[in-house]
């Protein structure tokens, strides 16, 4: 029972990070019908920029949490800029090209970001200094750390803000209109180009926060951390129903829980033949199963090729 609760807690924490990243995929997909392969790498850039600022400020005597906030304050605009440029340079010129073209440039952007990061920050794992309180609280036999609470609360707040933004503001209206039908939205006076730019920037801001959370949680950052994280977050978005915001949040949480339960119990289930080293495989099987049995995801529309 303790293992179960502990894995549940871990799963929810992991899941809230997935949700944040999955939202980035879903927002862009909802408006442009494009899978932005490079989104995971924006998360990585977020982590790297946060860490760079933290290292600069770590000798300054400022309190730890403030230093982390400063890092985040630098990472968010930096990632938004990255997202903006990415869309402007690599995707916008290809908006009316066949589907294959933007997919290939998206791969190109992802490779480019990873290798630029490797040139700047090197091949080694960067460690996240101990700036946030490390103590843990007991909870029904499981233990919850301060960082875990921070992650769940932080992503909850981010998602609530995003929901309000999309449901209650003019910008949100424009975004929803553009995702329904870009042509009609243009006729109605929506600046589709700027809506798309803003969507990329919003997704990238969420990615920056997720990047900070991941590196704080695991204590490390690495130039190719974005790849697997991106793949999993995409799976989460598909699981929930791509293009659907609530779906991305639900899918993220579910995937986090599935993964951490799987990692916790696989060893016992298979008598030690397979262990937590197969953790990364679960997301993929979930993806395949969803695509076979419910390609629309839990809350979404169909994704088949039919018009």
């Amino acid at each position: 029972m303790e293992i179960f609760l502990q894995q549940l807690v871990n799963g929810i924490v992991l899941g809230s990070i997935y949700s944040l990243v999955a939202l980035g995929y879903t927002l862009v997909y909802g408006i442009m019908g494009l899978i932005n392969f490079a989104h995971g790498d924006v998360v990585m850039i977020g982590a790297m920029v946060t860490l760079t600022v933290i290292r600069l400020l770590s000798g300054s005597g400022l309190p730890g949490p403030l230093v982390v906030l400063c890092g985040l304050g630098a990472a968010i605009p930096f990632c938004m800029m990255t997202g903006y440029l990415m869309e402007r340079i690599a995707y916008r010129p290809l908006r009316n090209a066949p589907r294959l073209a933007p997919l290939i440039t998206a791969i190109g952007v992802s490779i480019l970001l990873q290798n630029v990061a490797m040139l700047i920050w090197g091949r080694e794992y960067l460690s996240f200094p101990q700036l946030l309180p490390a103590h843990a609280f007991p909870f029904l036999g499981a233990s919850i750390s301060f960082i875990q609470i921070l992650i769940v609360a932080g992503s909850g707040i981010m998602m609530a803000c995003l929901s309000i933004l999309i449901r209650k503001t003019r910008l949100g209206n424009a975004m929803r209109a553009a995702s329904q039908n870009a042509e009609v939205a243009t006729l109605m006076g929506v600046e589709v180009n700027s809506v798309i730019s803003i969507t990329f920037m919003l997704g990238s801001a969420l990615a920056a926060v997720a990047g900070m959370m991941v590196s704080a949680y695991y204590g490390i950052a690495h130039y190719d951390m974005g790849f697997l994280l991106g793949l999993k977050a995409f799976t989460a978005a598909v699981l929930g129903g791509i293009g659907n915001m609530e779906g991305a949040m639900l899918g993220g949480l579910l995937l986090g829980i599935i993964e951490s339960m799987g990692a916790g119990y696989l060893g016992t289930l298979t008598n030690g033949a397979m262990g937590s080293n197969y953790q990364d495989v679960f997301a993929f099987f979930v993806l395949i199963l969803v695509l076979i049995f419910r390609p629309s995801g839990l809350l979404g529309e169909r994704v088949g090729e039919r018009p």
Partner: protein
């Protein structure tokens, strides 16, 4: 007489090429050329999937891995099996094709971008399994991989580690894959592939069972990958999960895209260019050392960086690749005014 010259001269050049290269640059470069030939095979295989049928496969290297590991398992001291290469090689191609069908069957009815991400995941999964299937039973050798793989042997004669012998073996298989690709392209099936790439709805309305035809492309491409994998294992004598990472898939994709999707000669050109050119980047390190006194840019990350950049730039500026197909060229010379339209809009219409 003319046809003789047309075939005999290139054949003669190809035959003496490795010796010329050895004389001019040394044996290392013959080895590089051998690898270039392997990449040509891989690129031609991926070209069937991406170039002809228009399906983006981002985990192509997984099929390469299947062929290589099958060869390693069946012809090495690992299990004590030493099956002959003429048996293992087709088996590897077949197994890879089977994996292609297993992966394609549930996913090919989905939209192209889903296929891309599923294949991407598949590539990673294969690698994770290769890395971890050393316990409780040691199947793949784990991260260390499998060593001491039998070299290719024809009758009593072993290829050993002769870069020349493998050059001719690979050349034979390159010609074989190029021949098969060309034949397929100009066939009923090839036309169906290209039709699907151009407009899937219209293709289906013409009576093409798109799902089966796509699956066929996927399986064909995969078996080419498996074939090259087997050859790789025999040549290297050693396989490990390291050799089959995502970057390899991206590199092969890059060769296809840069050379010219769907154009066989373009793809061959792209594969040779991208496997030989990065070798020149090796000199970037020492050059920096001698000029600046230290290494600022790591050559291997520079290589991947340039690949990423190439993918973006080619798609933006020359979507038909550096060497577009001859039909297009004929059109270009026939009608000057369409030339600009050609270059910017090659895959555009019908959407």
């Amino acid at each position: 007489m003319k046809t003789l010259a047309k075939y005999a001269i290139p054949a003669a050049i190809l035959c003496i090429l490795p010796f010329l290269i050895d004389a001019a640059f040394g044996k290392t470069w013959v080895r590089i050329v051998d690898f270039a030939l392997l990449y040509v095979m891989l690129a031609l295989g991926l070209n069937i999937v991406v170039g002809f049928a228009g399906l983006l496969d981002l985990g192509y290297v997984a099929f390469f891995a299947v062929g290589a590991y099958l060869y390693a398992l069946l012809a090495s001291p690992h299990f004590g099996l030493h099956l002959p290469f003429w048996l293992v090689l087709p088996l590897g191609a077949f197994a890879a094709g089977l994996f292609g069908i297993l992966l394609g069957a549930p996913t090919l009815r989905l939209r192209g971008d889903y296929l891309a991400i599923v294949t991407l995941g598949f590539g990673e999964i294969i690698r994770i399994f290769l890395n971890n299937l050393n316990a409780p039973y040691n199947i793949t050798g784990g991260p260390q991989g499998i060593d001491l793989i039998d070299p290719v042997r024809l009758g009593p004669w072993s290829f050993g580690h002769s870069v020349y012998a493998y050059y001719f073996l690979f050349l034979f298989f390159v010609l074989f894959t190029a021949f098969v690709s060309t034949r397929l392209q100009h066939s009923r099936i090839g036309r169906a592939w290209i039709a699907i790439r151009e407009d899937e709805i219209a293709a289906e309305a013409m009576g093409i069972d798109t799902r089966n035809v796509k699956l066929l492309a996927f399986a064909m491409g995969a078996s080419f990958g498996g074939l090259s994998g087997g050859l790789f294992a025999g040549f290297e004598g050693f396989v490990s999960p390291e050799s089959f990472n995502l970057m390899e898939s991206v590199m092969i994709l890059c060769m296809v895209v840069l050379g010219g999707m769907g154009h066989i000669r373009g793809v061959i050109f792209g594969a040779i260019l991208l496997s030989v050119l990065p070798e020149a980047l090796r000199y970037v390190g020492p050059l920096q050392q001698s000029v600046f006194g230290r290494i600022y840019i790591d050559p291997s990350s520079l290589r991947m960086l340039l690949f990423g950049l190439a993918l973006i730039l080619v798609m933006l500026m020359r979507p038909a690749g550096l060497w577009p197909s001859p039909t297009r060229k004929r059109e270009l010379s026939a009608k000057g005014e369409t030339a600009r339209h050609e270059n910017t809009n090659v895959y555009d219409a019908g959407r």
